[in-house]
Symmetry: none
Subunit: 401 residues, 2 copies
């Protein structure tokens, strides 16, 4: 696989337009009663037509057997090796709400949670308290004075908040305090590297103080922290690929990811047709469009097979609207699989289709797992998606004489 | 993938003979009116029979989405990682006409071209002037005296020539002066690295002098330079693979490539049957035979679908002649795809077949893109071709105990 620098050397500007639709977690597994996956169950006439006239395959976002988080899954689709570029959840959360992170800040994603009198977790999401309620609690926490630390706590959505710690010599090499299960106490703040020991002690002071302040705020009477991270130094997408890039997204984390890569971020809508309108509005000013649909993943995580099927059918309708914009290259895939039967992300390869004037059709009549595996792109690394998009858009010159 | 050193450690001499037929640019795309590619359109009874009894797949010469030049495409087929070994066009051109390049020489491929009175390029190939005419102009340019530079200019074919500059401290890190389009002036000689600034200035003096000398030679009244390069330090094919290697080729660049790898080069003929005779003549003295057919690429570049189909059918006839020599391993593929509809090299994977006593047949009834994708070699990196050839020839011992 070529490096950024090598792809960048081959990249040329051209008038062609590329749309990548990422239906989060679209890949699935067979429903126990029907033997069919979510995609195999859904009626998707538009995706099927694109599959038949385009090229199909399955991609592996990180590598065989590896279940990607949303960050690595997306990074791979944007051509950034997810094994080299790991952007912490905290940073993504911060960028997602437009917080101006500074290079030495450490950021974490926080949850308000409920603990019982013994301090054991009863609900990791504090009954999904309202965002306004969480905003009040964030103000209380922001008032905390920890020696040598500036504490910034911002509400994100429902029980989720952003924690930013500012100070000298802070290290993000800290383990999560969220044990990701109930019936146990939140974990202590632990360093994963010797040089983070001092930071760990200072963050523990913050956590202990937070618990004291929230004591009477049940259900939100404690916090859990995940994904401590610093702003990464990462090459910018428009510079690498010589494309003006637009991201049409709704969820904060994906906004954050798009921003850290230098894409222009536009607010999508949770119903896909609204996102198509946004896309049309910014069409003339960009060459590359990342369109994110979250519902497929959300229903997969909920284990709600039939709602995931309905989300796929909604996506199929939106695809027709995007086709009407006449992109030169239209690709549809996911950042990973989220099978409803697994109720979470999985390691399974992800259906992929690309449609342009320069396709060798596969004779694949449906866009789903069992059909794409017979497609003529085979099973390929997620990192190959960007070169494929660029090639079909005639935006890559020849390598070598 | 194993390195050279690792493959070399496993390589053993044996009495088996391996033929690799490279039909340049053989892969294609569907014709807009028939929906069939060049290979799918051609009648190829011999290739189809080999596909049915051998093993099939598609290879990616560099990696997904990357359009290879002929150099990288061939290097991959010979087992040299094209991302590590990039041989400049100038060197290939020099080796192709048997010019004894010295380690410190820099070489470039030159074109005579036509410029108008304002110095703008009218024809990048000077109306493809006759080779003899070009030879006279090369003599004029060779007489140029540039301080500190020995200038050698040799005709190649038609408007193409080889420029070799000999002197102390020359660097090949120079950009092409060929803008690859008409209506603009040739580009100035520019260094791509600080240490090449002095060389750039000296080569510019040569270009300016050349323009003065050619002033009245319209249509060949200017030159364009591409692919500045030095002789690379590259492991020799016969030593790595322990095979005596013969290359049967017609075009200078491929001769150059074969020579730099240490193959013995024999002049093929443009009609394939002549090349088969040459192959027979040198059969006993070699273990590995690289047979190059250029026409498939040439007609692809011309956008001449039906002539490319005819070239494939001619190749199919030649295959029968090569089979009559009874090679132990016979493989057929291309160095890249050159779809007639794209009129140029492309990034699409390339049909591959291998035939030996040790095959698992795929039930693939045709040698073409849509059939090979169902073959049992799948889609694989071009770098895997050499280990496959060696394995089928029983020339690789077991790796590890």
């Amino acid at each position: 696989m070529l490096s950024f620098e090598q792809v960048s050397e081959l990249a040329v500007e051209s008038a062609t337009k590329v749309v990548l639709i990422v239906a989060d977690g679209i890949g699935g597994l067979p429903n126990l009663s029907t033997g069919k996956t979510e995609l195999e169950t859904a009626s998707t006439p538009n995706l099927d037509r694109l599959a038949l006239t385009g090229m199909c395959g399955l991609h592996e976002p990180v590598s065989a057997g590896i279940t990607p988080g949303s960050g690595p899954g997306h990074l791979a689709l944007f051509g950034y090796d997810p094994l080299k570029h790991l952007i912490g959840r905290g940073v993504l959360e911060g960028l997602g709400i437009d917080f101006p992170l500074q290079p030495d800040d450490i950021a974490a994603r926080g949850n308000f949670c409920t603990v019982d009198d013994s301090g054991f977790i009863v609900d990791r999401r504090a009954g999904r308290i309202a965002t306004e309620k969480a905003a009040n609690l964030c103000r209380l926490l922001s008032d905390l004075k920890i020696p040598g630390l500036e504490v910034i706590v911002r509400p994100v959505r429902e029980h989720r908040f952003l924690l930013v710690l500012r100070g000298n010599g802070l290290s993000p090499k800290l383990e999560d305090t969220d044990p990701e299960r109930t019936g146990v106490a939140p974990l202590a703040v632990k360093a994963t590297s010797l040089d983070a020991n001092t930071t760990a002690r200072r963050v523990q002071v913050f956590v202990d103080e937070a618990r004291r302040i929230l004591r009477d705020q049940r259900p939100a009477n404690m916090i859990l922290l995940r994904g401590f991270a610093k702003l990464p130094n990462i090459p910018k997408f428009p510079a690498v690929y010589k494309m003006r890039a637009a991201a049409v997204v709704t969820y904060p984390m994906y906004k954050g990811l798009a921003r850290v890569l230098g894409m222009n971020v536009y607010e999508g809508t949770s119903d896909s047709s609204g996102s198509v309108k946004v896309l049309a509005d910014v069409w003339d000013d960009h060459d590359y469009f990342f369109v994110h649909f979250k519902k497929t993943d959300a229903y997969g995580e909920d284990g709600d097979f039939s709602r995931k099927v309905a989300a796929i059918e909604e996506l199929d309708g939106a695809v027709a609207g995007i086709e009407a914009l006449k992109p030169d290259v239209l690709a549809v895939t996911g950042d990973h699989s989220t099978p409803a039967v697994l109720k979470g992300h999985s390691w399974h390869s992800v259906p992929f289709l690309i449609h342009s004037k320069w396709c060798r059709p596969s004779g694949v009549e449906h866009f789903n797992e069992s059909a794409c595996v017979r497609g003529n792109l085979g099973i390929f690394p997620g990192l190959a998606v960007m070169p494929l998009l660029m090639a079909h858009a005639l935006k890559l010159t020849k390598y070598g004489a």
